[in-house]
């Protein structure tokens, strides 16, 4: 799950080396935390959160295939 977020994030920011994704799991499912350079925050969130929402949609597909749930937080 991490690799998907990492690939997308690294591909759309200006500072790919500063992209960090951590993955935790609780009874709700997988929690992904995405961290990027301050200047890149807008690039992973997007206007009205559109980019973050698109990433969440794609993560949901992968989670559904794996029979779990996943949430994405941008920290």
């Amino acid at each position: 799950m991490r690799d998907l977020v990492e690939y997308i994030a690294k591909s759309i920011v200006n500072a790919p080396d500063d992209v960090q994704v951590t993955e935790e799991e609780d009874e709700q499912g997988i929690i992904l935390k995405l961290q990027v350079a301050d200047d890149d925050k807008g690039r992973v969130i997007g206007k009205q959160g559109r980019i973050a929402e698109a990433m969440r949609t794609l993560i949901r597909v992968k989670a559904a295939k794996a029979g779990t749930r996943a949430t994405l937080e941008i920290v």
């Binding site: 690799d3 998907l4 690939y7 997308i8 591909s11 759309i12 920011v13 807008g42 969130i45 206007k47 009205q48 959160g49 559109r50 980019i51 929402e53 698109a54 990433m55 949609t57 794609l58 949901r60 597909v61 992968k62 559904a64 295939k65 794996a66």
Partner: protein
């Protein structure tokens, strides 16, 4: 840039007033810029070459994404024909994804497919520094949807013409509303409008009061 038909590298941009992009699109203010072309118009050949590269890169991005999403599918580049004789300056890059059980990739009202297309565009934009219109379809879903929307538009327009009352369609994403608007642009008896905000935005078909030229 579109107006000059030039790429970012070929022009010099002078910012006269920076404007505000506003975080999350709130408080947006247009920037005033002066644009100058630096090099002559690119040769057509060069343009076609560039296009090919973008197509290759786009295909790779799409395949990588599908792979990372554990979707087992084949992507096929497609040549896209323009519908309705609408104006299309640059034909978009098009891909059709084929495989088993791809309903999951389409999502409710094509939501997942829209997200996939958006992410592919974003990545290409960042990597190639050009905004390339990329159209992604799954098992011809958009084509079928487009045909059924056009049929719906024509049917509802007929209802509006007979009853003389406006008819409001269900909420649709922008490109679906566009299909409805385009399907009825040349209709002699009705006009179309969009109302509502965001996800609730929908097309209203109204009887043409005759003032429209």
């Amino acid at each position: 840039m579109d107006q000059l038909n030039a790429s970012r590298e070929e022009i010099k941009v002078e910012i006269l007033s920076a404007g505000k992009s506003g975080i999350f699109g709130v408080g947006t203010e247009k920037a005033v810029i002066q644009v100058e072309r630096l090099s002559p118009m690119p040769e057509l050949e060069e343009d076609a070459h560039n296009k090919k590269n973008v197509a290759e890169v786009a295909g790779e991005i799409l395949e990588t994404l599908l792979d990372l999403m554990d979707i087992d599918a084949t992507t096929m580049p497609e040549s896209l024909q323009t519908t309705n004789g609408e104006e299309q300056v640059t034909p978009p890059l098009a891909f059709n994804i084929q495989g088993e059980d791809l309903g999951i990739l389409i999502g409710r009202r094509g939501q997942t497919l829209a997200a996939l297309q958006y992410v592919v565009r974003l990545i290409i934009n960042q990597q190639m520094k050009v905004w390339t219109p990329v159209v992604i379809d799954v098992e011809g879903y958009k084509q079928r949807r487009s045909e059924s929307l056009q049929a719906l538009a024509v049917r509802m327009a007929e209802q509006v013409r007979i009853k003389g009352e406006p008819f409001t369609l269900e909420p649709m994403p922008a490109y679906e509303r566009r299909i409805i608007h385009l399907a009825l642009t040349d209709h002699p008896d009705v006009i179309t409008e969009s109302t509502g905000e965001g996800d609730a935005r929908k097309v209203v078909i109204l009887p043409d009061q005759g003032s429209q030229s």
